[in-house]
Symmetry: C2
Subunit: 556 residues, 2 copies
């Protein structure tokens, strides 16, 4: 019988839980593992320009696919991925991070190796890892297969960031053991948790549903048609936009604390109560923590727990949602529908220069159903919130972690997943300058997203808040038109759109032609933004006792 | 009397210890501090594309200037700088890392803010910082000026990585206190330490000197002419190459454990003893930890300590060096001189395609005295080691930390320092793909290094070790000629050199014209490397029981 190396067992588990691709950058401690990867044919290796980009790709892949994997080398590689990994943790994305380390004996004696501080401490990066991953595992000579199985089981069950430290000597060792299948997923809700849900419904039969990012991430989206059937009013946090169709009559809009419409705020915070489903309540998802939810009439369904007065574990969010929905009685009344289908189709002057508003209007009109759209932190995020999407649009953002540089590699990674959804991403120029390095995935591996780069002369979102004319909000002048081809995306179709007509045409072409990536450069004014960003700016300027943006600009 | 804000006190200290520039990327928590920076005129802000690049710039600046500063925003910004900061720690470079954080009350109550995991833990990134900086400081409402002064004093005295966490509300508060000058540097060696040095010399009057990176970093270089005067034989670790003139008759070569020449190895490890001056003994500086130094006859002078049997603190390396040198008696005998002046001037066929060897030969011939040359981890590092530099060439590398992506931004940062040395850097294509984002510093701030990019189709250094034909050692195909202009270095002179003549001409032009940056692309064969890398490859392949490179390539 063929014997497998330890790392092959790891690869087999990864394949078994539905992941076909590993992103990463090699290093001397990982080369032997990569040789085994190449010859095993179980998984595809996608080599990125940077570890940061690789980890963001894995995040994008995981959003499209459920789980994703990034492999880096000890110290230099793993730290380079830190911002992305922390983002996956904050945003609840199931990324497995495999780190190839020096051999066991070097670790044990603390050899002064390169990629360390040569001070004998080779555990330092593992301690860093503990701070930014949900859980870390260290494979040692003591039953390595057991540790690997536990790690995979944790990663898959929790669908959270998981770190595996794998010494290079152990990885390449042959094991006498047969490959044992990954343990099955346990997906049942505990009786206590179900009971709590039923009790809440009895007491608050008219509670509305508020859905957040964790619901989005954990497969609740496919269950939301049930909400429409029962006519249950649904609001979403900004980062769960699109989890229900926005023109459905039970959709009542984006809840964002005091930045919501007054009627929505009243309804969401009112005495009939609410069920928070997978909602991470951060400043960016609650209008600066301005939400007022009485604990008395709030049922909280989280990734693995249900709480209302008491708190119960063993309640996977999908099962809790199903139970809650099945117990809920249909609503009779009509809701103040948030969006009319016709709103999406407001007219645009084709020759006018593009604005943030017209850009988003055209994009949402041209964008077919079933796309996955990444909106980068900055003006794109707010533009997306102010738009109405076609049915079954998956909206991806990182509104809690809010690191710029995310959307470009994440959308490349998503487009390289098995999902057939077309991938779109909208990215500011400042953000694009952080991770444009990964454009090479287009020619090398056939990544085919539609990427919009908003060329608006620097950090607009910051100008709206402070320093509207400050040099610190400027960025270098890149030649965007040449960028994709220069960085390894020769096959991409790159266009620069100066008016609505050319933009609409580029988009039509992009959505028609799935054979390649499309990069659309959109020049915009540096102070242009959509209403929700302007409102936020007003609010923050007032708080900081700064003059308003208009006043500051008119002061010359 | 004018009152200063807390952050102005910080800026004044920074200016006082000789730093004129802060590198960074803004974020909402730092905008108010940056407004104060802009209006205070004490320091120049240099905005980078990425925090990683900014921290590398600060490292390059610090190498040229003694100390350097990077400013990032909470969470997303600071983690993005982690690889660079860890590198500064490992390589002993005095970078101050200022992190702008949420306001005090948010930190105290653990508000679920963006740029955190919204889990109430806002101390997480400080714990990460503790792992990768030499020391961390947290400014609080409790005597913020005292903490700042302590931090600056630590940073300056230790010249090590130092982290200051500065809440945005405290930063902008006015202080009633006058600005008090930064405490003076205490630069004296303790009597115990001097005595130990004298005793060692008495016992081992013929000990040779071996200099390493810490000596390079801490101003020992300016004292090394004293070694030549006394004809004291000097070897250097790979990362201190060039700290003495390589054609001086007392220079006996690069000591690198068993990768050194046998005669040098014997001399360095022999019974007459050695003084290790600022030597970090890592695998990459000792031929894979193959050095054999008996503790009996080895005096160790480190950054702040002296040891031989006993160990004494309070011995700053420069003072210890001065004392040791003054006690040493001149050597009478002639040493086996490592390099003849004539060796540098071997002839090159001008029409031949460039090779690693001819490229380095031409470079070292064209490179004037007094440059600062960064050689990136990868084939460039080994090429530099195999070359003979002109007098007073400062060699910069990161052979312990060995993260690729370092040299490009570091050389940009060094060229933006007050040092008048011309800056050169030699970078592999894989490394350049990691941090090319920072080319914008050329047009925006006038950075003017001479940058050589070795376009050799991927990760050559790894191919030499393993996976010579593996896809994981390939990289994306970038259009190098267009790269600088596309990424904001339009003013740079970019040339592609296919033979010796054109390369020599580009270099002549580059060294004549200091008004701008020069980028020289050098296409090289993907298996080409200089002798020391090939030797290392042989050694590692044998250890891993792999066939030799030649054999693997001929197997088709
Ligand atoms: C890694 C990282 N560094 C810094 C920030 C702070 N930051 C938030 S938004 C922003 C500017 C975004 O500008 P851009 O991408 O051009 O979008 P715009 O709003 O101009 O359309 C910055 C620098 C961040 N979020 N992440
Ligand atoms: C941040 C980081 N990731 C990965 C590595 C592992 N690594 C060491 S050298 C190298 C390849 C360098 O290739 P290149 O820069 O093209 O130089 P070459 O040897 O080809 O001239 C890699 C990927 C590293 N040192 N640092």
């Amino acid at each position: 019988m063929k014997k497998f190396t330890i790392v092959e067992h790891l690869y087999k588990h990864i394949r078994e839980v539905g992941v076909k691709t590993i992103f990463g950058v090699p290093g001397d401690f990982s080369l032997a593992m990569l040789d085994i990867l190449e010859s095993s044919n179980a998984l595809r290796w996608i080599g990125c320009a940077t570890e940061l980009g690789a980890a963001y790709c894995a995040d994008g892949y995981a959003r499209a696919n459920g789980l994703g994997v990034v492999l880096t080398t000890f110290g230099v590689g793993e730290l380079s991925a830190a911002t992305a990994i922390a983002g996956s943790t904050a945003e609840d994305v199931g990324v497995l991070h495999i780190v190839a380390t020096p051999p066991t004996n070097a670790l044990n004696v603390g050899s002064p190796l390169h990629h360390s501080f040569a001070d004998g401490d080779l555990q330092r990066f593992q301690r860093v890892a503990q701070e930014i991953h949900n859980k870390t595992f260290t494979v040692t000579e003591n039953n390595p297969l057991k540790t690997i199985k536990e790690a995979i089981h944790y990663w898959r069950t929790k669908a959270s960031t998981t770190y595996i430290m794998l010494p290079q000597d152990i990885a390449v060792k042959e094991s006498d053991n047969d490959f044992l299948p990954t343990p099955p997923l346990y997906e049942h809700i505990s009786p206590n948790a179900s009971k709590l849900i039923s009790e809440f419904i009895n007491k608050y039969p008219n509670a509305i549903a508020i859905l957040g990012n964790v619901a989005q991430r954990r497969g609740v989206r496919e269950l939301t048609p049930g909400l429409a059937e029962k006519n249950i009013p649904v609001a979403v946090l900004p980062n769960a936009k699109g989890i229900v169709n926005e023109t459905d009559s039970n959709y009542i809009g984006i809840y964002n604390g005091k930045l919501s419409s007054p009627s929505l705020k009243n309804r969401a915070e009112g005495p009939s109560g609410r069920v928070l489903i997978g909602c991470t309540l951060a400043d960016t998802t609650t209008g600066g923590l301005s939400h007022i939810f009485s604990s008395k009439n709030t049922l909280i369904i989280d990734a693995h727990t249900v709480s209302w007065n008491s708190r119960f574990e063993n309640a996977p969010i999908k099962q809790a949602f199903i139970h809650w929905l099945s117990c809920s009685t249909p609503f009779a009344e009509e809701h103040a529908t948030h969006h009319k289908e016709s709103e999406r189709f407001s007219k645009i002057d084709p020759q006018a220069a593009l604005t943030q508003k017209s850009m988003w209007t055209i994009l949402t009109q041209k964008m077919p159903e079933h796309v996955r759209i990444f909106a980068e932190t900055g003006s794109p995020h707010y533009g997306a919130l102010d738009s109405i999407f076609a049915n079954d649009t998956v909206f991806e953002c990182a509104s809690i972690w809010s690191a710029i540089g995310y959307a470009l590699p994440a959308s490349l990674g998503a487009s390289l997943s098995e999902s057939t959804r077309r991938v779109v991403s909208v990215i500011g120029d400042g953000a694009a300058q952080m991770t444009a390095n990964e454009f090479g995935l287009v020619d090398r591996y056939g990544a085919n997203p539609v990427i919009l780069i908003l060329d608006n002369d620097g950090y607009t979102v910051e100008r709206i808040i402070r320093g509207e004319k400050a040099a610190y909000n400027d960025v270098a002048q890149w030649q965007w038109r040449q960028l994709p081809a220069t960085l390894g995306a020769k096959s991409a179709r790159t266009t620069v759109c100066i008016n609505s007509a050319s933009f609409a045409e580029s988009l039509s072409e992009a959505f028609k032609d799935e054979s390649r990536a499309h990069v659309i450069i959109v020049p915009l004014d540096k102070y242009d933004a959509t209403p929700s960003l302007l409102t936020m700016g007003k609010f923050l300027r007032a708080k900081a006792k700064l003059p308003s943006l208009e006043q500051s600009l008119s002061e010359g």
